[in-house]
């Protein structure tokens, strides 16, 4: 697949995200049991503050009095104009809330990925270079860590570092100490698999004829690694990072909920719990768009690292 085709495919995915999320949340709104307007008004003004006036206002605001199809078109039209409406619970514009949450999510995701790289790359290279017991140890640890869902890793981290040792806060947001456990949790769950990928690719390169030849012609192991190893190892590793993006996003949802980290994942889970439909739509949309954009960046990075490949996917 040429790069241009791939970019067109990604653009298509972007549209698909908007349409899919828009349609699903529309169904979600229509599927609320009972009189939707009453239910939404009740969640906004409290169950005692609801009367038929409030319900009528909500009905008009959300277009609930219109027929199914015209309301659906209006719903999608609003979405296309990035008009996401106001939160049903707080009444604030969804877009502002999303920007606020996005910053926190990105901070968590980037820190987590950085720590994951710092763990996985040296560990993978070392276990490939020395092999033996180090390799068996990392394999066992990785398998065990991979069997733990990310929220269980987080929970164990909380129990160990926050409750037993009392080094770090349990949950919340504010100081740098609050970032440590969530980021570490994400990093551990990412590194569990990626250190094995680094290991496999490094082993492949270390035993390749071109690598042996580089050393025979007089390069030191370190020089051979820098000149012939790094780039060859990094192509599949970066490509694998594209596969792992899904782990990052799903991890962020779970970790933010666990640690009450005020990001998009936490926002999404909370909005679903509170049936705050505009916020569900906005949060899901942001995650989908983020996912597609990051995937595109990975595609481009693979293309830049290895221009030989016509097929960066």
């Amino acid at each position: 697949m040429m790069l241009r085709d791939l970019l067109i495919k990604r653009l298509l995915q972007l549209l698909a995200v908007a349409w899919g999320v828009g349609t699903l949340t529309y169904i979600l709104m229509r599927a609320l049991p009972g009189d939707m307007a009453y239910r939404i008004a009740a969640s906004r003004y409290g169950i005692d503050g609801v009367d038929s006036n409030a319900a009528a206002m909500v009905r008009e605001e959300l277009g609930l009095d219109q027929s199914g199809w015209s309301a659906y078109w209006q719903w999608l039209g609003d979405l296309m104009q990035w008009n996401l409406g106001n939160s049903l619970v707080s009444g604030l514009p969804v877009v502002d809330t999303l920007w606020h949450m996005l910053g926190h999510s990105l901070l968590l995701a980037l820190t987590g990925m950085l720590i994951a790289a710092l763990i996985a790359i040296p560990l993978g290279l070392a276990s490939a270079y020395w092999g033996g017991w180090l390799n068996r140890l990392t394999l066992t640890l990785s398998t065990a860590m991979h069997a733990l869902p990310v929220f269980v890793i987080g929970l164990l981290a909380v129990v160990l570092f926050a409750l037993e040792l009392a080094w770090l806060p349990v949950a919340g947001f504010g100081s740098a100490a609050h970032l440590v456990l969530p980021a570490l949790t994400l990093a551990l769950s990412l590194a569990a698999i990626s250190n094995r990928v680094v290991h496999t690719e490094a082993q492949r390169v270390f035993s390749a004829p071109f690598f042996e030849f580089a050393q025979i012609k007089g390069l030191s192991p370190w020089q051979a690694f820098l000149r012939h190893g790094v780039r060859n190892i990094s192509v599949p590793v970066v490509a694998f990072f594209g596969v792992q993006l899904i782990t990052v996003i799903e991890g962020v949802v779970m970790i933010e909920s666990l640690f009450s980290w005020p990001g998009i994942g936490h926002g999404l889970a909370h909005a679903i719990f509170a049936r705050d439909i505009p916020l569900i739509q906005g949060a899901a949309l942001t995650m989908g768009v983020l996912f597609v954009v990051l995937n595109t960046l990975v595609d481009l990075a693979c293309h830049a690292l290895d221009p030989r490949a016509g097929d960066p996917a």
């Binding site: 495919k9 298509l12 995915q13 972007l14 698909a16 995200v17 349409w19 899919g20 999320v21 699903l24 949340t25 169904i27 979600l28 599927a31 394999l139 990785s142 398998t143 065990a144 991979h146 069997a147 733990l148 869902p149 929220f151 269980v152 929970l155 164990l156 129990v159 409750l163 698999i193 094995r196 990928v197 694998f240 596969v243 899904i246 996003i249 799903e250 949802v253 779970m254 909920s257 666990l258 999404l268 889970a269 679903i272 719990f273 049936r275 569900i280 899901a284 995650m287 989908g288 996912f291 597609v292």
Partner: protein
């Protein structure tokens, strides 16, 4: 088939999974307790001779509740694997051997579904019908059939071009014969690995949703839900929190081992 290889990871995976299945389905029969009866005068009890795994914060019997939760997870995994494998393999063969437009339509469908991270898609579906086991089942299967589809399509395409299939066609054998004789034997060995990872993923998804409180609702026993419910009692009853954690980890580990290789 040669004898059983006791050192292989697959053997250990199968052994753990079988033990868990046995426990999940036999435990409620062995015990006289049931999973819903509360006994508020004996909460957070340590295991004893009548309540073999102790009691939870409502005094419910953990031996039976844990078995119930495992049953639910195993059932979800089995249903999702069967459904998504059936749909994925059928559509995969169709895409590889059918008309070109079918291939394009299916390719478009997978692109659309893959545009959203699986968990986010399942979360939205779960929001439409809160607490519904069947909605989760539909949502997880919707995400998972794609993996079977892609593998089946790639393999079938290759096989369809082979001389064996070409000559079968020339001899006038029908589509059903080709599937049974040529495509299925090539696809089948790959399916175990996908199915094992798929089962692990289905279990994880359901537990994740339970954990953020939008999946299966109380008072049903579900592993992820039990973990959040027991967490506040960690200081008084750490063994209570440990039970669903260990069960979930063992369940996922057994599936991963059964897959026969470390992920991807």
């Amino acid at each position: 088939m040669k004898g059983i290889d006791f050192t292989s990871t697959r053997f250990w995976g199968a052994l753990i999974l079988l033990t868990l299945c046995l426990y999940a389905f036999a435990a409620p029969i062995l015990s006289s307790q049931d999973s819903a009866t509360q006994d508020l005068s004996s909460i957070l009890r340590l295991p004893d001779s009548t309540r073999w795994l102790g009691t939870d914060h409502f005094g419910r019997d953990m031996w039976v509740r844990l078995a119930d939760a495992l049953q639910l997870s195993l059932l979800m995994a089995a249903l999702c694997v069967l459904t998504s494998a059936l749909i994925g393999v059928t559509l995969g063969i169709l895409a590889a051997t059918g008309p070109a437009w079918a291939d394009r339509v299916l390719d478009g469908m997978t692109t659309v579904i893959l545009a959203l991270p699986g968990l986010v898609l399942v979360l939205i579906f779960a929001a439409i019908l809160p607490g519904s086991f069947w909605m989760l089942y539909v949502a997880i299967s919707l995400v998972q059939w794609i993996e079977y589809f892609r593998v089946t399509r790639a393999i079938t395409r290759q096989v369809a071009r082979s001389p064996a299939v070409q000559s079968s066609r020339l001899m006038g054998f029908g589509a059903l014969y080709l599937v049974r004789r040529h495509y299925w034997p090539a696809i089948a060995p790959q399916l175990t690995t996908i199915a094992a990872f798929g089962a692990a993923n289905a279990i994880l998804m359901m537990a994740s949703l339970g954990f953020v409180y939008v999946g299966i609702q109380p008072p049903l026993a579900e592993l992820g839900l039990m973990i959040v419910e027991h967490f506040p009692y960690y200081a008084d009853a750490p063994w209570l929190l440990a039970q669903p954690l260990i069960a979930l980890a063992l369940l996922v580990l057994s599936c991963h081992l059964l897959a026969g290789r470390t992920a991807r």
